[in-house]
């Protein structure tokens, strides 16, 4: 296979992945708290070919000896765009939107028998009855417990009214008495780029010990204050559909263009084949 065909084939494979990223963004353009991802390209290795090394041939050259041929492009990075999405009012008492960039709710995810603290910006919460008891627990859409400052927020049954305050306090009204059932624990990611998306709108931390960090360095607790949260509202996805569509078209055209390269390479091979 000729070099030009390899270059194009490699690049098409990577473009396919870029299309996947764009497709995922578009699919999540209505997902609460979704953070869009951006894929950027990087060129691949360059091969230096010695050709025509006699001094006569070096005359009038602009560049150093040899010719350098690249071998296509690859996806260099896929980065999360952590900018805040637009906030839309829903009026639902258990909908909470984070107003600041890099703030996250803490949730508890039990996976393969181990419990891990993970992070999300999706603030559509629900109350889930606990097994064998009359108590209810504050959970995410998927059913993971939302963590308060003192662990999962469990509320005894028989309350009349629940209200989340702008500073994360959860107030309930029982027998005409108002009491605090817990305070939502909000953290700020100091190094948001190390967060890994783990599906279901959840981010998790990589192995911090390997990176030489402690949890406190990476995740700062945010002091509860007014204006931290917006109640009765959800953070929309920060995907910009028109931008994604433009990217999609460009990636698609690039894909076609590279496919043309392969066709042309093939036709040239055909010509060589017809020599005799």
């Amino acid at each position: 296979m000729s070099r030009s065909m390899i270059q194009a084939a490699v690049t098409m494979n990577q473009l396919q992945q870029k299309l996947d990223v764009i497709g995922n963004n578009l699919a999540n353009s209505q997902t609460t708290g979704y953070k869009s991802r951006q894929a950027e390209f990087s060129s691949l290795l360059t091969q230096e070919i010695n050709n025509m090394t006699r001094p006569v041939e070096a005359e009038e050259r602009l560049t150093p000896d040899g010719i350098r041929v690249g071998s296509g492009a690859r996806l260099g990075s896929i980065m999360n765009d952590f900018s805040v999405g637009s906030i839309s009012e829903t009026g639902r008492a258990l909908d909470v939107a984070l107003q600041e960039k890099n703030h996250f709710f803490k949730i508890q995810v039990a996976e393969n028998g181990t419990t891990e603290t993970m992070y999300t910006r999706d603030g559509a919460f629900y109350l889930q009855p606990l097994e064998n008891s009359d108590n209810v627990m504050l959970v995410t859409k998927v059913g993971y417990p939302v963590l308060g400052e003192a662990g999962p927020i469990i509320i005894e049954d028989g309350f009349e009214y629940i209200d989340i305050r702008e500073n994360g306090e959860i107030l309930i009204r029982r027998d005409n008495q108002t009491e605090t059932a817990g305070v939502l624990s909000i953290v700020e990611a100091e190094y948001p780029q190390i967060l890994e998306a783990s599906g279901e709108n959840i981010f998790r931390l990589p192995n911090l010990a390997e990176l030489g960090y402690t949890l406190d360095e990476v995740m700062d607790d945010v002091n509860a204050h007014y204006g931290l949260l917006k109640i009765g509202a959800l953070e929309r996805s920060n995907v910009d559909i028109s931008k994604e569509m433009t990217d999609l078209l460009m990636a698609q055209r690039s894909y076609q263009m590279n496919a043309r390269t392969i066709t042309m390479g093939d036709q040239m091979m055909g010509l060589i084949n017809q020599l005799r």
Partner: protein, 267 residues
């Protein structure tokens, strides 16, 4: 031997190499900071053709005198002499990501002068790049998408302390209270740089001279300066050149065929 055989073949090889450069450009049409390669074709060095013959001198013995007559210079083919990166500024594209940085050229004292980010490759050597698609690594250092450290003006890695930082137009990175100046290098003749892949260039760099102007934009990327339309057009042209050479080669082959089968055949 028919000399044109090799001439036509060299034409085909050169066009193939030309195609390689073009298809690599097309492949990198989306690579930030990529500089398109322009191939230059050059003919093989000229050689002088001489006609050798003899002249009969009409004497009683019938003397023959050797005669050499110069016919003229001839080239016997073509090759791709070099691939010169085109260092023209690429368009800017806004990404909104704070670790994306674009260099915008101003005026430089040298005609082929250009500025680059300095990075450190895996062997610890200093390299240059125009691809400002950076990120922050686990330790909080500013790195390229390959994980190479982006260097400051003292050739040290840049600690950002998380990804929230501001870069001013003159290249000062402000992370909290710390100020670091990005290492921007100047190359007086960018043509002397060697492309190394991964968007890196290798070559002699110096400090930016006082009369050079440039600007740095955070949240932007410099797009590849490949013009796909032009590449496609050149590709079609090059393809036809290839085909033409192939036809010439075939014509030669037919003449050879005739020489083999028909010359010297008894009727």
């Amino acid at each position: 031997m028919l000399r044109g055989f090799y001439t036509a073949a060299s034409g085909m090889i050169a066009q193939q190499r030309y195609q390689e450069a073009l298809s690599n450009n097309i492949a990198n049409a989306n690579t930030p900071g990529y500089k398109a390669d322009q191939s230059t074709l050059r003919s093989f060095p000229e050689m002088l053709m001489e006609q050798t013959g003899s002249k009969n001198i009409p004497t009683t013995q019938g003397l023959n005198m050797p005669v050499n007559r110069t016919v003229g210079p001839i080239n016997t083919g073509v090759y791709v002499q070099e691939m010169v990166p085109n260092f023209v500024q690429g368009d800017l594209r806004e990404t909104g990501i704070s670790t994306d940085i674009a260099l915008i050229n101003g005026t430089f004292p040298d005609e082929m002068g250009n500025i680059f980010f300095t990075v450190q490759d895996e062997n610890g050597d200093v390299r240059l790049t125009r691809n400002g698609n950076f990120t922050v690594d686990g330790q909080g250092y500013l790195v390229t998408s390959q994980g190479y450290y982006v260097l400051d003006q003292n050739e040290d890695p840049i600690q950002t302390g998380g990804s929230e930082f501001i870069i001013s137009e003159d290249g000062v990175l402000l992370a909290g209270a710390d100020e670091t100046t990005l290492g921007i290098s100047y190359v007086a003749n960018a043509n002397e740089l060697e492309k190394e892949g991964n968007g890196l260039f290798n070559g002699e760099a110096e400090d930016v001279p006082a009369d050079a102007t440039y600007e740095i934009q955070q949240g932007f990327l410099e797009r590849s300066n490949v013009d796909s339309m032009q590449m496609m057009t050149q590709m079609m042209g090059s393809y036809r050149m290839f085909e033409t050479n192939q036809k010439v080669l075939k014509a030669y082959d037919e003449s050879m065929g005739k020489a083999v089968t028909e010359i010297g055949r008894l009727a």
